[in-house]
Symmetry: C2
Subunit: 261 residues, 2 copies
Amino acid sequence: MTPDTHGLFMCPGPDASQGVYVLSPYGLDIIESCLTCKMRADRIFCDLPTPALQAFETIKYATAYPKGAVLFVEGQAPRGIFVLCKGRVKLSICATDGKTLILKIAEAGEVLGLSATVSGKPYELTAETIDPGQINFVKREDFLRFLKEHSDACFKVAEQLSDKYNNACHEVRSLGLSHSAGEKLAKLLLEWSSKNGEAAKAEPRLKLALTHEEIAQMIGTSRETVTRLFADLKKRQIVQAKGSTLLIRNKAALKALASSG
Amino acid sequence: MTPDTHGLFMCPGPDASQGVYVLSPYGLDIIESCLTCKMRADRIFCDLPTPALQAFETIKYATAYPKGAVLFVEGQAPRGIFVLCKGRVKLSICATDGKTLILKIAEAGEVLGLSATVSGKPYELTAETIDPGQINFVKREDFLRFLKEHSDACFKVAEQLSDKYNNACHEVRSLGLSHSAGEKLAKLLLEWSSKNGEAAKAEPRLKLALTHEEIAQMIGTSRETVTRLFADLKKRQIVQAKGSTLLIRNKAALKALASSG
DNA sequence: TACCGGTTGTGACTGTTATCACAACCAGAC
DNA sequence: GTCTGGTTGTGATAACAGTCACAACCGGTA
């Protein structure tokens, strides 16, 4: 919530030309060069042809971030894009009264601040790291020039933006068309349970990495309501908690809740 | 709500090479060629350099639509993009129980079905014309090829998508961070009143082109609530109705409502 | 004129959820 | 062990808004 200086924690690590992995200030290896990045192929944006990637290499700043760093705040003029290489980032919007809505938890491979950087309008949300990670920053002018010169990158950007739009539409559906908080929570749990290859399992399990407060902010309800809803789900044997992992015992019942309220 | 055959009403008008404007089946002049379109300069997407425009010309189908035509339905595989030249289009999402949420009323110059066409994922919303209009359709394969060949068009697409994302974020904010239906209605009225150069006026006026039912669908509430809210606003002298035009008599009060609830 | 479908206005009732207040709990620091 | 801050659990209360039901209205048409 408290914005830092410029959202830029420069990584003062050793000479980049030496090797691909260098030790960063926050105790994690940082990926110094995109050209040799092992994860590149899996990522929508990063999988560019070599010439584009080389050009990107010259304009990006590889930086390491601590937990809780604010990359940008909603309403700020766009400074540039943030390519999330490692770690997770919380994307939220926030009302004048302090009420916050978490839109999504961005994972590695996503590009943040893209639409604002392209359109020139202010960032429409706030991005805050929730664990230490690495982020490649590119200044707006550099990025726009890069896009004009590399049409394949430009197409990737369109793809990323489509993805984001898709996401936002889902959020709108969930917020606007649900009849109750229970319905929204069920939807969220099902969405979470469909990750990490748990989708097919009859009784998927998932890590509850967020507090009730944060879950409440994701579905636009109050903390107490979330607590009560969880209590109810447990009483009805639909879910079962084991420490911070949640076991979904009755997927069908959860699905019924998600679509009826 | 009832999907038509393919969302394509071919315009059987006279020879396109003859002139720019030809008479369409629905009694409106259609803009046959983008190259000579007078509105081109004002529109985000259409203002392309001549070579790109010429290429676009060869792949687009200029078609006239009646009122109430369904261009595409949420969940359908993307057939292509729809460039809205004239008329308005209602964009909505719809729950299994029939409850509908209107996301926005698209105006001339917007490109519809863009993100689905780019990403290949199903259309995320339903598009339905609300008055007769003209739409240029481009098939998905043609459009993707066009984008690869014309990087300036690709950049325009990124801009359009950014715009759409921005819009969706506003929708999320309004839906997720409002405390009451009154707050959402006030926000909507202020947004409407800031169009058509009425923004600066102390007592802006706006055309109420939608029914209470539709307004309810825009802010995710019930028809009766909208009726009651309007009655309340009138009683408190904040707005005043004159036929189908609404005069905002107390903008400050409306703003207060919009931000506090 | 009377009729009609769609829209708007209004009352009564009910369920959901926000809010406040406080107790219980848990993990880490000391 | 004790303290402490953050999290979770739970009750009481009030307000908001959805729903049903029906009356009133309005514009077009036969």
